[in-house]
């Protein structure tokens, strides 16, 4: 399909997403600084020698075997469940078209159409797979499409770790399409820890079929600008889906995260839980949208967005919203944002913790509920270490020093089944 035709089609598709036409959302829209960053971010450049070292360093630090390593100029795959298909390379004429018609969603559409590679992850019927994918953004752009298929009765635990090795501004784009088949079980952990030179775009579409258990955990920690659009359809009878988002921003980081959960089948459950910690001058727009379709009787939906803003110069807009098309459902949405509680800090300091230790404890406690939802203990350890680094030094994108010290954070995870306990039953018109 020609680029122009694709963009046109994609834009039509975007118009159907309620959050893209929401007036409140439009008011707080975070503009992507693509023009300011210049064309350089889209140019193909020779591989940097440091990329291999970066990969080696990350693997050693994370103490994790990666079944697939994808970087801007190459890849390595060692798994029967993963295949990489090369698509056409980025062409300069297409980039020109993109730059002149600067429209935010065209960029995502563009990435979807022109991903240089497609990673296909497939877990056949009844099988179990534990897969780790390392994605390294270098000076050249890395737009990839990741297709995940967990077939009937299969189990997948997927860990995607995004890092960068670039001395210049560069673009990372990841576009997911995930299908969790009947009676399947999948946990997908997407951890972003790119450096300040990376502009990150994400677009995810997932669908959960009958009686599946699909859990997607996002950690947004790296990148100078992150824009992520996620759409999860709970499309099967008694299907369970859960999306957990953890956002940590410092310095001048900008995060624009929008997630849409939709119940389209009877007795289906959808949970969206987001927690954000903002420091310095960082900005975050956090949008959680839940919709329950007319034919989704007996279904349950829960959206909860919470944030701590540490500095007066940081800015968080959290906008939860719901659209309910059936009266026989349970639905809740909530949002709360506050500065750091001074009484909590004093209490911890009165027990000998320094101010920074006390703040770390409060932040870690705040986000522990989300970290605790990561079933993979090693991933939990990695995430806790990244967060520890961020809260201590405000740094991101570096190779994390993984320790087990923060693992106790995971002790207070709330099971999604208990989230709905006591929630009111919606009685629509």
């Amino acid at each position: 399909m020609e680029y122009a035709a694709f963009v046109s089609q994609a834009l039509e598709q975007f118009k159907t997403l309620p959050e893209e036409t929401d007036e409140l959302y439009k008011r707080y829209f975070v503009a992507m600084p693509l023009e300011a960053m210049g064309k350089a971010i889209m140019e193909q450049k020779p591989a940097q020698m440091s990329t291999q070292n970066q990969i080696k360093e990350v693997i050693e630090s994370l103490e994790r075997k990666f079944e697939a390593i994808i970087w801007s100029n190459g890849e390595m795959v060692e798994s029967k469940n993963i295949r990489v298909i090369r698509s056409r390379e980025l062409g300069s004429n297409l980039i020109e078209g993109l730059m002149t018609k600067s429209s935010e969603d065209k960029i995502a559409a563009f990435l979807q159409a022109h991903s240089s590679r497609t990673i296909m992850i497939d877990v056949p019927k009844g099988e179990t797979a534990r897969l780790n994918v390392l994605l390294v953004n270098t000076t050249s752009p890395l737009p990839v499409q990741i297709l995940v298929s967990v077939e009937e009765g299969a189990t997948l635990n997927l860990f995607e770790y995004y890092t960068s090795s670039t001395s210049e501004q560069s673009l990372l784009g990841s576009l997911h399409e995930i299908r969790s088949g009947k009676h399947s079980s999948a946990e997908i952990n997407v951890v972003h820890n790119e450096d300040k030179n990376t502009l990150s775009l994400g677009w995810l579409k997932a669908e959960g079929e009958e009686r599946c258990n699909l859990k997607i955990n996002f950690v947004y920690n790296g990148g100078t600008f992150t824009r992520s659009r996620n759409k999860v359809d709970v499309a099967g009878f008694e299907a369970n889906t859960e999306v957990n988002e953890l956002i940590l921003s410092a310095g001048d980081q900008k995060m624009d995260i929008s997630t849409n959960i939709t119940n389209t089948a009877k007795n289906s459950n959808a949970v969206l839980e987001s927690k954000a910690v903002l420091m310095d001058r960082s900005i975050c727009l956090l949008k959680g949208y839940a919709s329950i379709m007319k034919n989704a009787a007996g279904s349950r939906s829960y959206v909860n967005e919470r944030g701590i803003v540490l500095d007066k110069t940081a800015h968080l807009d959290s906008i939860p919203s719901m659209s309910i098309g059936n009266s026989d459902v349970k639905a809740t949405h909530s949002s709360a944002t506050a500065p750091m509680d001074e009484e909590s800090i004093f209490y911890l300091m009165s027990r000998g913790a320094s101010e920074i230790e006390a703040k770390k404890m409060v932040i870690n406690g705040f986000i522990s509920g989300i970290i605790g939802k990561i079933d993979d203990v090693i991933v939990r350890e990695i995430v806790a270490s990244i967060i520890n680094e961020k809260v201590t030094t405000k740094g991101f994108g570096t190779v994390p020093k993984v320790t087990t010290e923060s693992l106790w954070l995971a002790g207070t995870a709330q099971k999604s089944s208990s989230i709905f306990k006591g929630h009111y039953k919606y009685r629509g018109e």
């Binding site: 509680d341 001074e342 009484e343 909590s344 004093f346 209490y347 911890l348 300091m349 009165s350 027990r351 000998g352 913790a353 320094s354 101010e355 230790e357 006390a358 404890m361 409060v362 870690n364 406690g365 705040f366 986000i367 522990s368 509920g369 106790w408 954070l409 002790g411 207070t412």
Partner: protein, 246 residues
Amino acid sequence: MELEIKELHVSIDEKEIVKGVNLKVRSGEFHVIMGPNGSGKSTLAKSIMGHPKLKVTQGEILADGESVIGMSADKRAKMGIFLQFQNPIEIEGVGFVNFLHTAKRSVVQGDVDVNQFMGEIKQLTEKLKITNGIVGRSLNQGFSGGEKKKAEILQLAVMKPKLAILDEPDSGLDIDAIKTVAENINEIAAKHQMSILIITHYSRVLSYMKPQFVHVMANGRIVAEGSTELIEKLEKDGYESFTNKG
């Protein structure tokens, strides 16, 4: 630890709460401050611990002869000052045992053997009759009023300070729990030769304890001082006769 407070004035948001308090607690002594609501007892306690919102406008707080004014709360804790909170703060996600371990490490300023520490916690929870698995929960979250107070005393026992300021250790406790808490405070204080300063409205908890000095606080000042006879007088006459003096 010897605590000496000289002509202390403390304000919050430009409003003076403590209006010239003088108090001396010598090493190993047991003092009690009684007084009606709003008399400035808790503000005095928090100012000794170094609450950042409280401004010492005049006077001095000396711990073993060293001024603590301007010192952060964690440094005061490391010196050996402990404040049991009247309303302990609930902190989501911070595991109680991990918090205790961190607190212990902070005050001893070194490593604490985990196995030995867990053994100590087990013994102390049994002594304090702490049930319902609060040690496995987040700090003070979902604790009953009684559990919160017992958890504070557990922290006192773990941290072993030189000076313990106990702000209403009895409020919210049933009769049996008051006795348990009081007996544990007595034992901990005696074992570690702590200086104790208890703040309370009621004399019930003091029937299980033996304070040496009693101070009555009203309107931001100490308006009466004496021994345990003063408690009997308070029981008989109430705070009103003292309030007028303030």
